[in-house]
Amino acid sequence: MDGKIDYRDDGLFCSGHVACGGCAEALSLRVILNTMGPDTVAVVSPSCTAVICGGHPMSSLKIPVFHTTIESAAASAAGVRRALRARGKVDTNVLCLAGDGGTYDIGIQALSSVAERNEDILYICFDNEGYMNTGGQKSSSTPRGAATGSTPDGKRTRKKNMIEIMAAHRIPYIATASPSDLNDLAAKVEKAKAMRGTRMIIVLIPCLPGWGLAEDSSVQTARLAVQSRAFPLVEITDGVHYRLQTPELCSPLADYLTSQKRYRHLDAAEMARLQADVDTDWSMLQQRAQISPA
């Protein structure tokens, strides 16, 4: 890796947006939007993304944007797709931009139905593992142990395994990505863009205030998430073929956990339990990738 970010930037994502200083979501959004290109309609549900997108004429996205309700990103996108078809615009991309609350929790009913019908939509979930725009409450994407406004002593249950849920719908493409590897993110968006049907990419976004991080540590934290295997990078095609990306450098989960305030109440035993969760998930993914590689 020479550290160079290699993607075409046509300026579709503007500076002057209102993300928190240092937030990796803006960075990821820039890569995603420019890779998708101008022939794209965005459907956005209430989330940090919706705030970052901003309002006309100060929109930070130079494409048409439809802000819908929090439970409805996938369903509204299905409506947009049908209308574009009816108008003969088959090549226009329909891009959903949603948060984890709007994806894992309140939006899963619409998302599941869209996936079942294999609607022609690329669905991006910016996963900051909680409701960060309302002050930091847990979502079903919040990992075990993490403290939030509504789980002050740490969440007791595991993070919902969204990629397996989506894989069970047998949609053409599912991937996870991290702002610590923007070339990988761009490649995955490029790949998804060339496909038809329901495609989903979950991008991990370390939340500076929500996770208790310094302003310059977003990308670094995302990298630690990948290296510690807390957030594995994976691609699933047609719901059955797995490609698991083994990180070049590995680090213990404790390094990732201790870098964040949301885990600071954990003792060694609890950290060991979380390490066991991560190890189980990783070996499951390894098995799948061995049995049914992409």
Binding site: V18, A19, C20, G21, P46, C48, V51, H67, T69, E71, G101, Y104, D105, I106, I108, Y131, M132, N133, T134, G135, G136, Q137, K138, S140, G149, S150, T151, P152, D153, L208, P209, E215
Partner: protein, 608 residues
């Protein structure tokens, strides 16, 4: 006059950028004032959760006598950031004080310094805020506290009380934080000691006999949470939404400690569905949301009415429709709260008018819900949810649940869960009570709960009539008249947070020799129609100020009494100004006769 205004009535405004410690300084000021024994009303304005920039203002009104809203004009402005504070210099009254940094370290553009914006009649106090902080602590971080110390010194407020509050506020931080801030505070006091005071702002000693130590500083949401807890809430289900989330966060922290159950669900439908499930199973259960969440909950509200299940929904309104103005206040969900859902689904809706009201209504909501076996909506708004007031709670918990009575059955008698009784209230049993097993359904049903259309009209009547006595529920103020008795020129009818401004309007108008009375209506469903009609009988004009466009409450009053009212509506996202209500009141008095039909004016229209 009912309440003469003497002694202290001072409003501080502290303005800075996010990160300046503006809200923290305001918090110390309001807590110190409360401890001194003053009545306090405070409201903070800060940017949404996305961090790093944006203006923060903390406004704190302290007074001897109870006040009901913030004042339009502040007496003192403390600037921690000139760029943000300059637009607020105008809110300082004549002979009020403006405190600012006079030792800027950065190059400023023309007009960039606050001193260029202070009017001749305002009194400027420039001092080296940063320098004081740095000399006292070695860092500029305590600028906010240094400025607070300067204000305390200038207005002769006792430093010891501030020391106590500073120590409490930073108790969880390393001790050096308290020590540094105390030093910065004292250095501020010291700096002000040498200053010749030219303003006429005076903070006296509180007249109030109530000891400051008994007063609790609460927000509306905090008061609701406290009321719920004292009433023995057993289960809370929630979903995050501004401005109701802080109720959920308080429940998440408190309920498990008190042996209750807390759950954050995946959406509002599940939140209310779980609340209803818990209410059915015999627990005191509640949820809280805002307008968009209530919109999703309306189907379950209907089930609650039909199945006669008691539960409580707190709703903090924000600007709508749709996502609307998530961080701005409005009173436009009245229709949704009272009428939302399918069919004839009358429920109880309580709208407290101040923080103490939030505490009392929340404390009584479960008992009311259980008495009438129905959903109770507690309707507040962002302005009430987030503002601070001093409340003196009773020393003994007056909201503790009373033991539930299990229905007694005669020999061979069949249990009828929905029996048509004279009061309309049927014998309620909960799952697990022997011999009382029954089925609950959203289908229309007969007296034993068997699905049937045979008694639809009777059941609708029962569900309607059983609620009517709630307007005289013991211990609950469902409406109250203030001001002049007998015939008046103008009567103001108000609900929710706007009633604070209405009450302030009353006191101002009484000082102008106008015959005026006001009535607050706390129970919005069922409406205390007789009392409202009697009040209207006394008024030449009836004015209804509220923060929505259509005049939803005015429509409700007019419809229930069949009489004309004058609407005064505004949707600016901010509380209505006392001056605007007063202007409309004067316009009505100057008009010769009551309007033949309802008229409709917006507060902006009055201003124009």
């Amino acid at each position: 006059m009912e309440q003469p205004r003497v002694g202290t009535d001072i409003q501080f405004a502290i303005c800075g950028s996010a990160g300046d410690g503006t809200i923290a300084a305001g918090d110390i000021m309001k807590r110190a004032a409360a401890l001194m024994g003053f009545k306090v009303i405070a409201f903070d304005i800060y940017p949404p959760e996305i961090r790093g920039f944006g203006k923060c203002i903390s406004r704190i009104r302290i007074s001897d006598a109870q006040t009901y809203s913030l004042k339009r004009h502040s007496d003192v402005l403390i600037s921690l950031n000139d760029a943000h504070a300059i637009p607020h210099v105008g809110e300082v009254r004549d002979f009020g004080a403006v405190l600012f940094e006079d030792n800027s370290i950065a190059e400023l553009p023309e007009g960039g310094h606050i001193s260029a914006h202070i009017r001749a009649a305002q009194v400027p106090y420039g001092f080296g805020i940063r320098e004081i902080s740095e000399k006292a602590t070695g860092l500029a971080r305590s600028r906010n506290i240094a400025a607070l110390g300067y204000a305390a010194g200038l207005f002769n407020m006792p430093p010891g009380i501030f020391h106590q509050i500073i120590a409490e506020k930073f108790a969880k931080k390393p001790r050096a934080v308290t020590e540094d801030n105390t030093r910065a505070f004292d250095a501020g006091v010291e700096a002000a000691a040498r200053v010749f005071k030219l303003d006429d702002v005076s903070v006296g000693r509180p007249l109030s006999a109530a000891s400051g130590a008994d007063a609790v500083m609460m927000t509306g949401n905090g008061a609701i949470a406290r009321g719920f807890l004292e009433a023995g809430i057993q289960a809370y289900f929630g979903y995050p939404i501004t401005p109701a989330s802080s109720i959920m966060e308080r429940m998440a922290a408190a309920l498990p400690r008190e042996g209750g159950r807390f759950l954050q669900t995946e959406d509002e439908i599940s939140a209310i569905a779980a609340t209803l499930g818990a209410g059915y199973a015999g627990a005191r259960a509640a949820t809280a949301t805002s307008g968009p969440g209530l919109a999703l909950m309306t189907e379950m509200m209907g089930l609650g009415v039909m199945a006669e299940v008691p539960f409580v929904v707190a709703v903090s309104q924000r600007g709508g429709p749709s996502t609307g103005l998530p961080t701005k206040t409005e009173q436009s969900d009245l229709n949704l709260a009272v009428y939302g859902g399918s069919g004839d689904a009358q429920r109880i809706v309580l709208a407290p008018t101040n923080v103490e009201g939030c505490y009392r209504c929340a404390g009584m909501a479960f008992e009311i819900a259980e008495t009438y076996q129905t959903p109770v909506v507690l309707l507040v708004d962002l302005y009430l949810s987030n503002r601070f007031e001093t409340v003196i709670p009773p020393r003994k918990n007056i909201f503790a649940p009373k033991p539930r009575k299990t229905p007694k059955m005669g020999k061979g008698e069949e249990y009828q869960r929905f029996r048509l009784t004279e009061s309309g209230v049927s014998p309620r049993s909960i799952p697990g009570e022997a011999g009382l097993t029954h089925t609950v359904t959203g289908l229309e049903h007969d007296e034993i709960g068997h699905p049937s259309d045979r008694l639809h009209n009777e059941m609708n009547a029962k569900r309607h009539h059983k609620l009517l006595p709630a307007t005289h529920f013991p211990g609950l103020t469902t409406q109250k008249r203030f001001g002049d008795s007998g015939k008046v020129d103008v009567g103001l009818l108000g609900w929710g947070s706007t009633f604070g401004e209405i009450l302030e309007t009353l006191y101002t108008a009484q000082g102008q020799d106008i015959r005026v009375a006001v009535m607050k209506v706390v129970m919005l469903s069922p409406l205390p129609v007789d009392e409202i009609a009697a009040f209207m009988d006394d008024c030449t004009h009836v004015l209804v100020p509220e923060l929505n466009f259509e005049g939803q409450f005015a429509n409700m009053i007019s419809g229930a009494t069949g009489r004309p009212v004058t609407r005064l509506t505004q949707t600016t996202g901010a509380p209505m100004l006392v001056d605007d209500i007063l202007a409309e009141l004067h316009r009505l008095i100057d008009s010769p006769a009551p309007p033949p039909t309802s008229s409709h004016r917006t507060a902006e229209g009055v201003r124009a």
